[in-house]
């Protein structure tokens, strides 16, 4: 017999999630991207740096609200190889560059320390850490420390690794991003930013799925990329044209 009543278990804290706008993507993520967790974004080719950074900024914009600043930490190598980041380009993606802070750090250790301090602050909307090349210091232990700090403060952390191979880490989700052809606007102009994203790994959830998404900067959501107006690509073992009476020559194959 117990005299003291058993303390009732406090309910598990509800994990805040942000829906991306695409039903299948949200279903795979269990409702949306989680706040207070580490999300990794990889781009294996340096030429995809623009797409990967654009995706990371789009996620940060979707998850942050306008009132809180975003902190973007770049390794010095990133500035040298990737170029200077532009606030008008960031605003064109829907972000609020005026409240954003851009930090340039000399090396990987400083990058991790700055990220940890920023996560502990708790007054930021999102923290983006950008690094180029293989960084040995960003290993499992470091990422676990960052993940703990993010959990405590509830600030989402996006680790953007360009020209790097995926390594084991304590990330909630791991993405591989590449640029995709966009739906052209009238007069053959390039359209909205479109990405080919692959969910490489998710903690306690399905992975290995991919999507082609388009970022709508006005509504701050992702959309399924509409099929481009190109022709259905030809199948290898069937002729395009059906043979008919007075069969004509097969039509030219369209380039895919």
């Amino acid at each position: 017999m117990r005299i003291m009543p058993t303390p009732c278990e406090s309910p598990a804290p509800v994990l805040l999630r942000r829906a991306s706008g695409i039903a299948t993507l949200d279903a795979a993520l269990g409702g949306g991207l989680a706040y207070g967790r580490l999300h990794e974004i990889y781009a294996d080719d340096p030429a995809e740096a623009g797409a990967a950074t654009g995706f990371a900024l789009a996620l940060a914009t979707a998850m942050g609200d306008g009132a809180r600043a975003a902190l973007w930490l770049r390794a010095r190598q990133a500035v040298r190889q990737g170029g200077i980041c532009r606030a008008d380009g960031w605003a064109d993606l829907g972000g609020a560059p005026g409240g954003g802070l851009i930090g340039v750090v000399p090396d990987a250790i400083a990058l991790l320390r700055a990220a940890a301090d920023a996560l502990r602050c708790g007054a930021l909307g999102a923290v983006i850490v950008e690094s180029w090349g293989k960084m040995r210091e960003l290993d499992l232990t470091a990422s676990r420390r960052l993940a703990l700090a993010a959990e405590k403060s509830g600030v989402p952390l996006f680790v953007l690794r360009i020209a790097a191979e995926p390594v084991p880490s304590a990330a909630q989700t791991r993405w591989q991003v590449a640029a995709a052809p966009s739906a052209p606007l009238p007069a053959r102009a390039p359209g909205w930013p479109t990405f080919d994203i692959t969910l490489l790994r998710q903690r306690a959830g399905p992975c290995g799925l991919d999507w082609r998404v388009e970022w709508n900067r006005d509504r701050h959501i992702f959309q399924e990329a509409p099929l481009s107006g190109a022709v259905v690509p030809p199948v290898a073992d069937r002729p395009l044209a059906q043979p008919g009476p007075g069969a004509g020559h097969p039509r030219d194959r369209h380039a895919a």
């Binding site: 623009g50 950074t53 980041c85 380009g89 966009s182 930013p193």
Partner: protein
């Protein structure tokens, strides 16, 4: 009690000596004379006249803007200079200084000696001065402004005579009251003084009676002297040199607490803290940190100093020990006692400010920035990176119009990277280009967006052909889906064989 009063006159040094100089200020939309010099006054100009009238009378007039702030500042400096004669000095704006020389005049040879010395000093500064001595501060000011100029101090009988001869304007009443006094036939202080005080109080109020009594010496009011705030300097000296890390840290914490008390007493917060460690062999180590917001709390300042020490190239070597440690606060700002808000918004902004301070101290202030727009069409000059420790508030960037895909790239190369392009001549878009040894097919393009060089910034830029090359920018998407920003440097009319460059990458 004796007092003095100089009047101010400001003149530029590069004006010809015979042209009259006036200072003008804008009053209700019209330019009105605020001050005139002796030549202008001799020609009949008085303050209060409009500039148009003055110019009509005297065409060759030298006009300068009146700067009230600079005048005030100068007056304060003169007052501080006068503190060499007596510590009780106060300013009577716009152009008066009052000194209380009750116990100090014997050091300079009595009142006469002090007046002569004052006149010489001000003449040396190039200032025209009217001096007067009286029993009360108000009487001295009044005599200096209105009485004809005797420099020698007056005996008390002469002084009373002089005060009684002053016009009623020195009472400082409103215009209607003054006109009423004059209409009643009371033109000088002497006339008013013989009337019963009750009658004056009933008609013009107690203020008139108090002013009268202060002028005639029946009532005395002390002046409020200017007080220089003490500099915020705290130090600790040790009988034996101290080298142990914990002891130095403890001493520093004590100094910060003393500073916090002093700051709280004055209602200030420190923004810049300088710690100097004096080693026993004479070497000095100086550490300085800066915060974005004024602060009194010792804990964040200690953390910032830890960052600063960790970021030093050579570690701090105490040698045989430090025998003196000082803390100086050169920059302070007003800081009211904060009231904690219930919604935690102030906590957020404080936490963010502390993070900015810490990262700026660790990385250097120029490595943590906010981006601000700059008014320029040239893309590489369209933004400024301001250190976040200086730019405290978020900066407004214009929102792009809805429904339009990104027009500006996310990354910009500095300098733009050359590419080889196949395009139609003269104005056609690129069909194919080679960048970093890879060939890209252009699938979609938008352009050209023509950005001309800023010809007004070049010497001789207004001549045709000298303004600089125009750029034609194209938003390109290649077959793989990557989006670039290319430009052709120079039109075919401007340059024989213009080169193409890639300037940036889109998402």
């Amino acid at each position: 009690m004796r007092s003095q009063d100089p009047a101010l006159g400001i003149r530029g040094t590069d004006t010809p000596p015979d042209a009259p100089l006036v200072l003008v200020a804008k009053v209700k939309g019209a330019m009105v004379l605020g001050a005139v010099d002796a030549d202008a006054r001799a020609l009949g100009l008085v303050p209060g006249l409009t500039l148009a009238d003055a110019r009509a009378r005297i065409p060759d007039l030298i006009v300068a803007e009146m700067d009230a702030g600079a005048d005030r500042h100068w007056l304060q400096r003169l007052a501080r200079h006068c503190a060499g004669w007596t510590p009780l000095v106060t300013t009577v704006p716009p152009d008066g200084i009052t000194l209380d020389i009750a116990g100090a005049d014997h050091l300079f040879g009595g009142e006469a000696g002090l007046l002569t010395e004052a006149e010489e000093t001000f003449a040396g500064l190039g200032m025209a001065v009217r001096l007067a001595c009286a029993a009360t501060a108000e009487a001295a000011q009044a005599l200096a402004r209105h009485a004809p100029l005797p420099i020698a101090p007056l005996s008390s009988a002469d002084e009373r005579e002089a005060i009684r001869a002053l016009p009623v304007a020195v009472l400082g009443l409103e215009d209607e009251a003054e006109i009423a006094l004059r209409r009643a036939g009371l033109k000088t202080i002497g006339d008013v003084a013989v009337r019963p005080a009750a009658a004056i109080a009933a008609r013009f109020g107690m203020a008139a009676v108090t002013a009268l009594r202060r002028l005639t010496g029946e009532e005395q009011a002390p002046i409020a002297p200017l007080v220089e705030p003490e500099p915020l300097h705290f130090e600790r000296r040790f009988a034996e040199p101290v080298g142990h890390q914990a002891a130095v840290a403890g001493c520093f914490l004590d100094l910060l607490r003393m500073a916090a008390e002093a700051l709280e007493a004055r209602g200030l917060g420190g923004r810049r803290f300088v710690l100097t460690l004096f080693r026993s062999d004479g070497a000095r180590h100086r550490l300085a940190i800066e915060t974005g917001l004024p602060t009194r709390d010792p804990a964040p300042v200690m953390r910032l100093f830890d960052e600063r020490i960790a970021a030093l190239a050579d570690p701090l070597d105490p040698g045989f020990g430090y025998d003196r440690i000082t803390l100086f606060l050169p920059v302070t700002e007003p800081l009211a006692a904060a009231q904690p808000q219930l919604d935690g918004a102030t906590q957020d902004s404080e936490a963010l400010a502390e993070l900015i301070d810490r990262l700026s101290t660790r990385l250097g202030p120029e490595n943590l920035c906010r981006l601000a727009p700059r008014d320029s069409h040239i893309p590489e000059q369209a933004q400024l990176a301001l250190p976040a420790i200086d730019a405290r508030a978020p900066i407004r960037w214009p929102t792009p119009p809805p429904g339009q895909p990104p027009q500006r790239p996310l990354f910009l190369f500095d300098p733009p990277q050359p590419v080889e392009v196949i395009a139609e001549v003269p104005d056609g878009p690129p069909h194919r280009f080679r960048w970093r040894r890879k060939l890209h097919e252009v699938r979609l393009f938008e352009g050209p967006e023509r950005i001309a060089a800023e010809w007004w910034r070049r010497k001789g830029g207004e001549a045709p052909g000298q303004g600089g090359l125009t750029r034609d920018y194209y938003r390109i998407e290649d077959a793989r889906g990557r989006r670039y920003w290319l430009f052709r440097h120079g039109l075919y009319e401007e340059k024989a064989d213009p080169r193409w460059y890639i300037h940036g990458l889109f998402a």
